[in-house]
């Protein structure tokens, strides 16, 4: 039950076995060779697994027992907002009137979807304080690249596209990677001793080649950038745009808004803040919302309310919906309209919470993080020890010096206590970082259990033999510590590469 190794599906395969059943069509049979000219015919059969339905079910059910998940326990993975995903929204995703709609069906067949999209776009605009947006990006990083494309289009329209984008040294890896892909040079500004962007250093790098700045707020240390207004003013002062990385939006829902802070472009991670499940690494959804002046550049086609003359109508005045391509659109950023079903789940979540509930989410997320921070005070280092937002960063630096036990070891030991590990070694500017985000859906009792586990582990690190015990952990997870170096050195990325 989860502890036994599971063979690959290819090892379960037996020639000639099958699981598939297809509906009767009544279409007369003909040999494939009648239909496909020889030069196009595949000569071999595709070797897939050949298993019975029973073995298929056994295999993937057993695999699922080798997988931790939110539904099994707390997942205090900083920067990831692994909150509880309400089950009701799985049901929403199964409604045929949503699930079985073709993305190229004419708008008269998809009024419900268009309305849904307009509704969530309006809600997200209100939540972020922006004017309009696109729902196409599939995840945060896709939103970033979309945002940077908007930046380029804006500056191009203003005269010239500019060359540089500024990011803090604490930023998430997607930020610099997107900057490069967006055709910009990433310029890093350091973090000051309070854990915020060093405003003076920022001012030094600002010039007319700066297209904009990307920032999360609260930042990846879980701290609110208190000088955000000044930061934005400085960037705006050289004609740059402010980009808000919304990964941490959970902390400020209904409390403060990127738009009010001076941001021009915002992406949100619906799979974080709006409780759509992460799916083991996706699907996500990364809508991008923008200030007024950037609306004409948004990707298209956009779902909009239609006035009777077919033009775009203002909010809730019109019962009809259609598509519209913004005047100076940067073009599509998705094969179709985005991860639509993720949007449906997120809308349901927003409706259930509403204005009062969204703010309550932020309050309790921040309460939980601060409670844990205070509770664990003195157990591990807290490099920036002041009130945090929805997460905070600890460091095992002293512990490592004292005992040899690393952040990695603490993470691995937590795995056997029924918790997922925190994010480790991020942000890069903190040595032996452990980044903890409890989220608002965990109870005080769960937080206490987590704190107690960390306390026990730290205490055991200092006990005789502690370093060895920690370095060997975990002991009773489905597999023990995995040799990552070997995986890279001797790459086996498919079953067929196994024997070679």
């Amino acid at each position: 039950m989860g502890r036994d190794p599971e063979p690959t599906i290819f090892e379960l395969s037996q020639p000639g076995r099958s699981a598939w059943q297809l509906p009767t069509t009544g279409i007369p049979d003909r040999p494939l060779d009648d239909l496909i000219p020889p030069i196009h015919r595949r000569m071999d059969r595709v070797r897939l697994a050949e298993v019975s339905e029973r073995d298929l079910v056994g295999h993937f059910t057993r695999l699922s027992h080798r997988q931790f998940s939110v539904d099994l326990g707390a997942y205090p993975l900083g920067s990831c907002t692994m909150k509880y995903n309400p089950k009701a929204f799985d049901l929403v995703a199964g409604i045929p009137g949503l699930a079985d709609v073709h993305p190229a069906a004419p708008a008269r067949c998809t009024q419900g979807w268009l309305e849904l999209m307009v509704e969530i776009e309006e809600a997200l605009c209100e939540i972020t304080g922006m004017a309009a947006g696109t729902l196409q990006p599939s995840a945060g990083a896709a939103g970033e690249l979309t945002g940077l494309s908007l930046m380029r289009a804006w500056h191009t329209a203003e005269g010239a596209p500019r060359r540089k984008v500024i990011i803090p040294d604490s930023s998430h890896g997607t930020n610099p990677a997107s900057v490069t892909l967006g055709g910009y040079e990433a310029v890093t500004v350091p973090t000051d001793e309070r854990g915020c962007v060093d405003l003076e250093m920022l001012r030094k790098v600002l010039d007319e080649q700066v297209a904009g700045m990307m920032l999360t707020n609260p930042n990846t240390l879980g701290l609110f950038e208190e000088q955000i207004v000044e930061l934005a003013e400085a960037v705006h002062g050289v004609g740059g745009l402010m980009y808000y990385d919304g990964a941490n939006m959970n902390a400020i829902l209904g409390v403060t808004r990127p738009g009010d802070m001076g941001f021009d472009i915002v992406h949100l991670n619906l799979h974080k803040t709006f409780a759509t499940p992460h799916g083991g690494g996706g699907p996500g959804s990364g809508p991008v919302l923008v200030a007024d002046r950037l609306v004409p550049f948004l990707p298209g086609p956009r779902p909009v309310r239609l006035a009777t003359d077919g033009s775009q109508a203002v909010a809730s005045e019109a019962p009809d919906f259609g598509w519209m391509i913004p005047e100076r659109s940067i073009g599509r950023v998705h094969s179709w309209h985005g991860n639509s079903m993720v949007l449906a789940r997120a809308l349901a979540y927003i409706l259930v919470n509403g204005s009062d509930g969204l703010r309550r989410i932020a309050e309790l997320a921040v309460l939980n993080a601060n409670w844990l921070r205070v509770r664990l005070d003195g157990i591990l280092d807290i490099p920036f020890d002041r009130p945090c937002m929805h997460e905070y960063v600890m460091s095992a630096d002293s512990l490592q010096h004292e005992t040899g036990v690393k952040a990695l070891d603490i993470a691995k030991r937590l795995l056997e206590e029924g918790f997922h590990a925190p994010t480790i070694y991020f942000p890069l500017i903190v040595h032996e970082a452990l980044m903890i985000e409890p989220t608002e859906t965990e109870s005080m009792q769960t937080l206490e259990a987590l704190a107690a586990a960390i306390e026990r582990i730290v205490a055991d690190s200092r006990a005789p033999g502690g370093q060895e015990r920690c370095a060997e952990a975990p002991y009773c997870t489905p597999v023990r510590r995995v040799d990552e170096a070997r995986a890279a050195r001797h790459l086996i990325a498919t079953f067929d590469a196994r024997s070679s």
């Binding site: 690959t8 290819f10 509906p23 069509t25 279409i27 030069i39 595949r42 059969r45 595709v46 897939l48 697994a49 298929l56 699922s64 931790f68 939110v70 009701a88 009137g97 949503l98 709609v101 073709h102 190229a104 069906a105 008269r108 009024q111 419900g112 209100e126 995840a139 896709a142 940077l148 289009a153 890896g173 997607t174 610099p176 892909l181 403060t256 799979h271 499940p277 799916g279 083991g280 690494g281 094969s335 993720v342 259930v352 919470n353 509403g354 009062d356 509930g357 309460l367 939980n368 509770r375 002041r386 009130p387 859906t441 109870s443 489905p478 597999v479 023990r480 040799d483 990325a493 498919t494």
Partner: protein, 450 residues
């Protein structure tokens, strides 16, 4: 205020006390006063979950979904295929659905092994050595492939066949403005790309089958790539490839595809699944996650994400791609669906679709005024030239209970006969379409043109 948070008022109070605060509001004292919202968000307060679900149901009822009321002949990258309940049941297991990216392999063997199996299956379908663990969708897979191709060839001119899905090309162009790639679109003639005789592209991109449903002679593109030193990127269909020559066997360097047909519902366009496979030599340029096999400290087989030094969280601005969260659950779904189909099932799906398409095309081209758009061989999709605007026809057929297909842009039909109308139609037949549905469709089609 119904929510999903556990805190009772007493607990909130005691937690606040523990951290030395008097109210929840004080938690935000670090936010400059001027930035704090002075009022509630301008939206309704929360409603009970059943009311919200009812609202979503009401929205859903304003759609006309594919099914008995609207029999689907539309495709173009989004297919109405059989998704058996067993695939849905397994892919819905909450361990898969509610986990994060497998950063801690010791407790993530379920997702990791499923991805390893997915990679194997995609590599086998594509006939290439390496597949990654998913990208967002077909378009994003194409963008990444072109980035890889430019980096591998060292040249940024990209020749893209108009046989590639128009939306994918559009996405490619959107992001090329940032990367500076030069995108050159190449016309089709009779369903086949007419590659220029001169020039030196770094990347050559084509689709097989292409957007008109046609099977092109990929050999020509391969020769072009060989003679110019370009990287050949091929967009393939994972179902069709079970009966067609694989990208690998045609000599493609990179194969990309839309994986929706592998167990995902239409879902108004997403979440879908970007497929990405390439030759072994490009593995260090691979975008996205890659799962590799290794061992644990006890020597047991274990899976782990690998060659991480390509990825954004390690390499930052030098990463091969910016992708982080992608479509893992869809990759797991595809692995399950491909497990269900197996060797015989996938070919049967392709064959039945082809049989249905051939049967349907014969009926439709028999209708007065309807002509095949090309004479090139097709498989599961085919394109027609209509005597009227395609949207008008589609509209009339919706009234009869059919989604007739997807209009084809004038880039395919030319405007000679048609003015600005779009008189091309792409019709798709999947293994789900029955003879009687096709008969009824053809009859309604004829009526709609009368």
């Amino acid at each position: 205020m119904p929510t999903y948070t556990p805190h009772t008022p007493d607990e909130i109070e005691s937690m606040l006390e523990f951290i030395g605060l008097g109210s929840l509001g004080e938690l935000f004292d670090v936010v400059p006063e001027a930035l704090r919202l002075p009022h509630d968000l301008a939206m309704a307060p929360g409603i009970p979950e059943p009311d919200a679900v009812a609202h979503l149901r009401a929205l859903a009822s304003r759609n006309l979904e594919c099914g008995p009321e609207l029999v689907c002949f539309a495709g173009g990258g989004a297919y109405d295929r059989e998704v058996p309940p067993v695939t849905t049941a397994l892919a819905s297991r909450s361990e898969f659905v509610t986990s994060y990216t497998p950063y801690q392999p010791e407790v993530a063997q379920g997702v990791l092994q499923a991805l390893f199996e997915f990679q194997t299956m995609v590599a086998r379908l594509a006939g290439l050595e390496i597949s990654n663990a998913s990208l967002y969708d077909g378009a994003s897979a194409l963008v990444e492939a072109v980035n890889l191709g430019v980096s591998a060839s060292g040249r940024s001119e990209v020749w893209v066949s108009r046989g590639v899905h128009p939306s994918w090309r559009e996405v490619l162009k959107t992001f090329a403005r940032g990367t500076g790639h030069v995108i050159v679109e190449v016309d089709l003639d009779q369903g086949q790309t007419r590659w220029p005789d001169t020039g030196r592209p770094g990347v050559v991109v084509m689709a097989y089958p292409n957007h008109l449903g046609c099977l092109e002679d990929v050999g020509v593109a391969r020769e072009l790539a060989d003679s110019t030193g370009a990287i050949l990127v091929m967009a393939f269909d994972p179902i069709a490839t079970s009966v067609l020559r694989s990208p690998g066997s045609w000599g493609a360097d990179v194969a990309v595809g839309e994986g929706q047909a592998l167990g995902m519902p239409l879902s108004f366009g997403g979440p879908y699944l970007g497929l990405f496979a390439c030759r072994q030599e490009h593995v260090r340029r691979l975008p996205g996650r890659l799962v590799g096999e290794s061992v644990d400290t006890d020597g047991r087989t274990a899976y782990v994400t690998t060659l991480r030094a390509r990825e954004q969280d390690i390499r930052r601005q030098k990463a091969t791609s910016n992708v982080c969260t992608n479509q893992t659950l869809m990759a797991v779904t595809a692995a399950i669906q491909l497990g269900w189909l197996g060797t015989s099932g996938i070919a049967e799906v392709a064959k039945r679709s082809a049989l249905g398409a051939s049967y349907c095309r014969d009926l439709l081209v028999g209708i007065d005024g309807v002509e095949p758009l090309t004479s090139a061989p097709t498989l599961m999709e085919f394109s027609l030239r209509l005597p009227i605007d395609a949207s008008t026809l589609i509209d009339r057929l919706v009234d009869e209970g059919f989604l007739a297909g997807i209009p084809l842009d004038t880039e395919y039909t030319g405007t000679e006969y048609t003015g600005s109308d779009m008189r091309g139609l792409l019709v798709t037949v999947t293994e789900k379409r029955t003879r009687s549905e096709i008969d009824a469709f053809a009859a309604a089609f004829a009526r709609a043109l009368r």
